[in-house]
């Protein structure tokens, strides 16, 4: 390496290092990008409320609109959903005695929420699920034996169930369908 190479090495070193220093200096005057979770955002907004509707957080089951079809239990690859539903003539339909989801096993894939006909089982934007024991990670949704929901052909009229059903159908409607209408 002759004198030319030597001096060129020096010059390149100084030039590239100075440029790098300029980039870093330009970062010093930029605002940081950190969202200071768990503090709330401006306007006392929780981070969870800013997440998109499709966000796959902790699973939630709206038992009022669950039809007891067991499609979610079949679809789950990890078998973390356990449902006990039995036909009971006396009560007049399918009675569900157990609907447990083991969130410790769940991998938040969404395979359960896709086949649900009413969107009863859906992901929520909640992601804070840490707790002190494994047992507490099992979400039990059936407090008392409940009758499964029967979707009404003429549309739901019960004012308590209607908003839940609408939300559920909206969640299911987000999934792509082969017969989707032509969009803009």
């Amino acid at each position: 390496m002759g004198l030319g190479g030597y001096l060129r090495n020096l010059k390149e070193a100084v030039a590239t290092i100075a440029d790098g220093l300029a980039v870093t200096a330009s970062h010093l005057v930029r605002k940081p990008y950190t969202v200071e979770y768990p503090d709330r955002l401006e306007g006392d907004v929780r981070i969870q409320d800013t997440l998109p509707f499709r966000y796959r957080g902790i699973l939630e089951v709206d038992l009022e609109i669950c039809t007891g079809c067991l499609a979610c239990e079949r679809a789950c690859p990890i078998d973390c959903i356990v449902i006990d539903a039995a036909k009971d003539k006396a009560a007049g339909g399918l009675v569900m005695t157990r609907f447990d989801i083991d969130m410790g096993k769940c991998m938040y894939c969404g395979l359960c929420s896709e086949p649900c006909p009413t969107g009863a089982i859906h992901h929520t934007p909640e992601f804070e699920g840490a707790d002190y024991s494994l047992e507490s990670l099992v979400r039990r949704f059936v407090k008392a034996p409940a009758i499964a929901y029967k979707p009404k052909k003429a549309g739901e009229t019960d004012p308590e169930i209607l908003p839940v059903l609408e939300r559920g159908m909206r969640y299911v409607g987000e999934f792509a369908s082969p017969d989707a209408p032509e969009k803009e």
Partner: protein, 387 residues
């Protein structure tokens, strides 16, 4: 020290009557701040200079290929995310393609475009981690943080698209799971407008920095013939000058309809096929991905994004081999079906697995610091190696 299976013979040369020296056997163990994932290298070194670095893999083996035989065609897609969680869309895509080939399903055009947009965003994400970790391993911690900051923006876009930030489960057999939400295209284009000058800034900060180039140039030169012999793929192969890209040479999906270049290493700052070439190929690929995404967002047609696939998908018996150009190269999926709802066998051939087999050859007479640079330049990720 747990050298079972790695009994290396320690040389004790006497230098013609002088002081007898002994080689040092180090274990760059499974817990190490720099190896990309849980890898272990048994290094036989003479001071700083290595005689050999033998990789020891298997710490992240999760039997994903066996799980495929249990969970069925649809249920396996979330598991494909975990095959290479740094660039998860490609694995989803490959499994979807394999199942569609076996079942004779055609994906609608809009679905193909959605797939490619997601793939290219995932390529950018993976390359950001790759160049960021490379810079961090070489000692500059700032570019890593900048790369992760940009990756967070793409994570936000993916979150709006499919609901998850790392293990996407976006693609389905027959198309994709969700259509582009309203307003997403504008956000994606706004991100690209923001991101492209930042690639230049990244270059200014670190790529051509004299210290960085001195660490990478002329280190671990792999000739094109060697690269082909050892079965390197992706940016590793292209960094050695071989212009092979599955998207161009065996195009799948809609890659025929978009225009893009395939960057190839040119040995501009040293020898062809050194670590710097592999690094700069990744930087340039990010720019090409931006081009592809812009074209896709303009050309994307209307229509459904998924074809009709029965919930109880039973493709006819047969086998197929599908290749996608993942961020780490040509990922090959050999899927065998026996006509039932569960695949018979699934075998994944990943770029990192063959790259790590080359470390033993390449590491002779390198220094310890160079070993880190080589591992980083091969863009090894442990989940892909061990599956």
């Amino acid at each position: 020290m747990g050298l079972s299976g790695f009994e290396v013979s320690i040389e004790r040369p006497t230098n013609g009557g002088g002081l007898a020296t002994e080689d040092m056997t180090l274990s760059m163990g499974p817990q190490h701040p720099s190896t990309h994932g849980v890898l272990r290298f048994v290094v036989r070194a003479d001071g700083e200079v290595m005689k050999e670095a033998i990789p020891d893999i298997g710490y992240l083996h999760r039997s994903i290929e066996k799980i495929a035989e249990k969970v069925g065609w649809h249920g396996f897609i979330p598991y494909t995310d975990r095959v290479d969680y740094v660039a998860a869309m490609f694995c989803n895509h490959a499994w979807g393609m394999a199942a569609e080939k076996l079942g004779g399903i055609e994906v609608p055009k809009r679905g193909e475009y959605c797939r490619v947009i997601a793939d290219e965003f995932c390529r950018i994400m993976s390359h950001l981690i790759s160049v960021g970790s490379m810079a961090m391993d070489i000692g500059a911690f700032t570019p890593f943080n900048h790369a992760i900051r940009e990756r967070e923006y793409i994570n936000d876009l993916m979150e709006e698209l499919c609901g998850a930030r790392l293990t996407f489960h976006y693609m389905r057999i027959g198309g994709v799971g969700w259509d582009l939400p309203p307003g997403w295209s504008e956000k994606a284009v706004a991100f690209l407008d923001r991101f492209e000058p930042l690639i230049d800034e990244f270059d200014d900060l670190i790529s051509f920095n004299k210290i960085f180039t001195e660490r990478l140039v002329n280190v671990a030169v792999i000739t094109p013939e060697e690269a082909i012999d050892y079965n390197l793929v992706g940016p590793n192969l292209r960094g050695s000058g071989v212009k092979y890209d599955v998207r161009k040479d065996e195009p799948y999906s809609i890659y025929r309809d978009v225009e893009f270049d395939v960057p190839v290493g040119r040995g501009e700052l040293g020898t062809l096929g050194d670590c710097f070439d592999r690094y700069i190929v990744r930087m340039r690929e990010m720019r090409e991905s931006c081009r592809i995404i812009r074209q896709c967002l303009k050309q994307i047609p209307d229509g459904p994004v998924i074809a009709k696939v029965p919930r109880n998908f039973k493709p006819p018996a047969g086998d197929t081999y599908v290749r996608v150009e993942s961020a780490r190269g040509d990922q090959g999926w050999y899927v065998v079906s026996d006509g039932t709802a569960f695949p018979y066998r699934c075998r994944i051939r990943t770029g990192s697995f063959t790259a790590i087999s080359m470390i033993q050859k390449v590491s002779r007479n390198l220094m310890l610091a160079d070993l880190i640079a080589v591992i980083a330049s091969f863009d090894l990720v442990a989940p892909e190696i061990d599956r």
